[in-house]
Symmetry: C2
Subunit: 416 residues, 2 copies
């Protein structure tokens, strides 16, 4: 039940090469470097062409000319909510249920903190060992601050469902495993969590913009995500938080900053949480980063997430088939069933780090995740069949000619 394939239409796990929709229009909206095949948009999306111009406008015409008046005249103050609504459409969320700001780690803290208080009497945050470490670190930090017996319990990903017992207040899972790309069935987990009296916090870091997400339909309580991966907002772009409408009036913001106040500019000494999702705002919003995100989201106008999913799976299937055929020493580290795979494909090799460096030197950019994972992200927004063909040919050469066996490729950089 947990591993079903809700978004996959028949025929698409057979590996056929047909791409459902032509994405040449969105591809033309990105500024990609010459000679690079970019398979790392799951880590940092590339530059949408609209961003530099929009940023220059915000800097010169809004900040430069309006100065402080930009908060009213350029609509800066509404950006977290307005852009949140744009993201909401991509993740199946109700209007007015998503707000932008801060970083994903901060948003995880907010979601967990609020969710725990909605389930008084229970003390366990349940997560899994495939979760992104920062989510686990944040949960650990939160439970240490709270004391009172709060704790984080982690189990293997496939054991999450069975581990939801009456001690669990909140189930916190990242839908798509950052290493393997394996997906949880969030609808099934939500149903199970609710039946057992727990709430679900859902991390969409590798989901938003990667495939169709249906937060409202699938019963999410809280969700969080970042915008710098498949939403292409640039390095360190703003995060988002979703709170289901049924929880909004009761969710206490643990990080009660002035922008989440009912009337920030009354400058009252007492905190009163704002209406609805507004209360999840914290400090002064990052206008430059929000402007970049806003421009980046234009790419999505007219994109049908279902078409995107079909095209993404076609690219993945092509990549897996061609890589396995040409590079038998690489072991598939992603689920073979496309229905439980996100928008990335990972392979395992003891020399994974050096292989990735050699690949990057040849113009194929993916990334490495310790200890041995070669990770490749796919999005039809700017990647097509011919990119995959070229990438697998280069990968085959790197492996056949042992191009990775070079001391220069074995010294690890600070950031991997």
């Amino acid at each position: 039940m947990v591993w079903q394939s809700p978004f996959l239409s028949p025929g698409h796990h057979t590996g056929e090469r047909r791409v459902a929709t032509d994405f040449s229009a969105t591809r033309a909206m990105f500024d990609l470097p010459e000679g690079v095949i970019y398979l790392d948009g799951n880590s940092l999306g590339p530059l949408p062409k609209a961003v530099p111009e929009r940023l220059a406008k915000v800097v010169r015409e809004e900040w430069g000319q309006m100065l402080i008046r930009g908060w009213n005249e350029a609509g800066w103050m509404e950006m977290p909510r307005r852009i949140g609504d744009r993201v909401a459409r991509l993740i199946g969320a109700e209007p007015g249920s998503v707000v932008m700001g801060d970083t994903l780690s901060i948003k995880v803290w907010q979601a967990l903190s609020s969710a725990l208080e909605l389930v008084p009497g229970r003390r366990v945050i349940l997560s899994d060992t495939g979760n992104f470490p920062s989510d686990l670190y944040i949960a650990d930090g939160l439970t240490r601050s709270l004391g009172k017996g709060y704790e984080v319990k982690t189990v293997a990903p496939e054991e999450v469902a069975a581990a939801i017992d009456e001690s669990v207040a909140v189930v916190m899972v990242t839908e798509t495993d950052y290493r393997s790309g394996r997906r949880h069935d969030m609808a099934a987990l939500a149903q199970l969590a609710h039946a057992r009296g727990a709430l679900l916090v859902w991390d969409l870091a590798h989901s938003a913009g990667a495939f169709p997400v249906h937060l409202a339909r699938d019963g999410a309580d809280f969700a969080v995500g970042c915008s710098y991966k498949y939403l292409n907002s640039g390095p360190g772009g703003p995060a988002f938080i979703y709170v289901a409408p049924r929880h909004q009036a009761k969710a206490r913001p643990g990080l009660s900053g002035w922008m989440g106040h009912e009337k920030p500019f009354a400058f009252d000494l007492d905190y009163r949480p704002g209406q609805g999702i507004e209360r999840m705002r914290v400090g002064t919003p990052p206008i430059l980063a929000l402007a970049a995100l806003d421009a980046a989201l234009d790419v999505w106008e007219g994109v049908d997430p279902e078409d995107l999913r079909k095209a993404s799976l076609a690219l993945q299937e092509q990549f897996i088939r061609d890589t396995e055929a040409a590079c038998p020493e690489l072991e598939l580290a992603s689920p073979r069933d496309p229905g439980i795979r996100g928008s990335q494909v990972s392979f395992r090799h003891p020399e994974g780090y050096a292989i990735m460096q050699a690949l990057i030197a040849q113009g194929v950019i993916g990334d490495f995740r310790a200890p041995d994972i070669l990770r490749f992200g796919f999005t039809p927004l700017y990647i097509d069949e011919s990119d995959i063909r070229r990438a697998t040919a280069i990968l085959a050469r790197v492996m056949a000619e042992r191009l990775w066996d070079n001391p220069a490729y074995k010294t690890r950089a600070a950031v991997t």
Copy 2:
């Protein structure tokens, strides 16, 4: 003792007009709109000319061309710490004791949370009613999360010193009152707090870049601040946090995100705080905003904070004298003693909001703070004597001709 004037050299409280140093060089580094006298840099600093070019370079050449490699090749990952060191020099902090990121409200939470744990057995956060409300809101939210008898106690600003008793774990004050510009004597408060077993969290929102700050010399334990006011980083620019070296190894990060981990890219499941100030990092750093700040800080190369202070006070004295002479119906809301005044001057009037709108319509931009405060910020970086002369002449005309008595100026905007 609390109200002494540590930074004022003899003669500068007499209102003499001499400006100690020529700031025409820094003035030329800002892009100010034609016909505007900008006295609101205490709310949002204006655009440094170096920012648009730097942002364009980071966006097109780093993000656009390097893509994910920017984290290593463009030094993105080190920016929070490297730029923190640049800010450290402006606030008298030790190298390696300041890191950038998030918003001021988040940094307040981090500082308070860590400080409270360093004073076990005490439960009170002491603050004052002149503090910026968001700091109080954050403290309130934190104590509610912690439970266990933690509470926030607020007294009048002049009563803070006397209220530091053995119940107080942390004294949290904003050095410069956002409404009146009145300054606490932070060195004296630190001495008193330490003598009574408490720690001091110091908000530098209206101090950093406004006048010389000496965190190390004056015994600060924790300090926080924003960069979009006197440091001119743009709307919603990154905040900073300072942790005194003596506390760094013991300060537990309550918001334990992966960037504060000892080895973020080991992706361990357990959190181990990073070395020194690094542990106060939380999520992925906001590179575009950090780049804007980095370029904005170039303005400070060669500026002596003591010269800046002298010139700022000369401008303030000129503004007070000329305004009081021409507008007797405006009541000075800032301390008359320049030694306890930051870098702003406030006046009080029941029609303050409308008066400020009328002034803005005439090209003099200050701001309004409820219920009746007209607020004007001064920095010699881009404001000089002739600006003050023109501003006071316009203010005099607004008052004499009752230009404010216009219904269009009485409807309050969302952001004031």
